[in-house]
């Protein structure tokens, strides 16, 4: 696992059935592109988050393939429809095989 990786998600705790809510997701990650060289001229190996997904009660909301040109601490903001009470599940996949997860429950009301 890369150092200092911490996922953060901001989602409403409550929504009306069928309401479109805004979700913000940020993960602190250095997103090393693989293009840079260290002071000795050796390539620094690529280490990025290559995929980000969000599911709601098992149904896919968003599935993002990420490439090397994405900046450090990638931040996603998107809208999702909440049909029923349930749980958003957010997953980030790291190049080194690590998987970071976060969940947010949403109640109807």
């Amino acid at each position: 696992m890369a150092d200092g990786v911490k996922p953060r998600v901001k989602a409403p705790k409550k929504a009306a059935a069928g309401e479109v809510v805004t979700i913000k997701c940020l993960i602190s990650h250095k997103m090393e592109s693989g293009q840079r060289k260290d002071s000795d001229g050796n390539k620094i190996p690529r280490s990025i988050i290559n995929r980000f997904t969000c599911d709601f009660n098992g149904a896919s909301v968003i599935d993002v393939a990420m490439e090397a040109a994405i900046s450090t601490n990638p931040y996603f903001q998107f809208e999702a429809t909440v049909p029923e009470a349930g749980e958003f599940k957010f997953t980030w996949y790291d190049d080194d095989g690590s998987v970071y997860e976060d969940t947010k429950k949403v109640a109807i009301g």
Binding site: G4, K6, R8, K10, K24, L26, S28, T72, N73
Partner: protein
Amino acid sequence: MKIKAVTAIAAALIATSAFADEDAELVINGEIEIVTKTAAPAHLSDAMDEILSGWRFRSEGTQAMQMDDFDNPGMSAVDAAAEAWDTVEGSEGKSCASCHGAAEDSMAGVRAVYPKWNDAAEEVRTLAMQINDCRENKMGADKYGYTSGDMAAMEALITLQSRGMPVNVAIDGPVQATWEAGKELYYTRTGQLDLSCANCHEDNYGNMIRADHLSQGQINGFPVYRLKNTKLNTVHDRFKGCVRDTRAETFKPGGAEFIALELYVASRGNGLSVEGP
């Protein structure tokens, strides 16, 4: 005269397009009300009537970033520092939390009164000096670099606990000599450009210096995240940058000159809310 009028119109146009509503108020997370404009402290009464936080000089987009902690990029450093707070380091087997408990409780109000006099050491201490004193003498750990990322993050964590409280640094008693030295420095011109702090931040705040919108140079929002270098910046880093921009040899961050200047500049913001990061 004609040229001057044209310039004034141009300035007014820029002001409406690039800068935010002058009456906007800073409320963070919809709950923490921040004082960004208030009457100047008594010692400044000859120079200005009103003191303004740097937030008021930023564009709407930048202002919005500070209004929500999720959008505030400085907060990831706060997260990192919160981990460091609980991490045992050094020969004494202690973390910050071993003595101070939860930062939320023990550090509330701390930022607002720093820099301040330390009786035991008989010196004016900045927050960074206090952090390093703790690390070196209480924890037996290595000191942080004065303007390092670790230091900026730890300052940010501590500053956050005072957010919304009025800056209230003492300027009399044992700190008075240092405060006077800082004031002297503030009004001393330096560098090939022959500029003092006051030339820009007291005489010309609100004006443009080429592409930069001059603020009053208040430090109530430090350590501050700068989009320019995408990291938290400490006060002394910023002082150094400003002195360098006058094309002078700068003082050393953590040195006596900048400590005095920090105390003086902080006192110019007495009454504004602590804002950082």
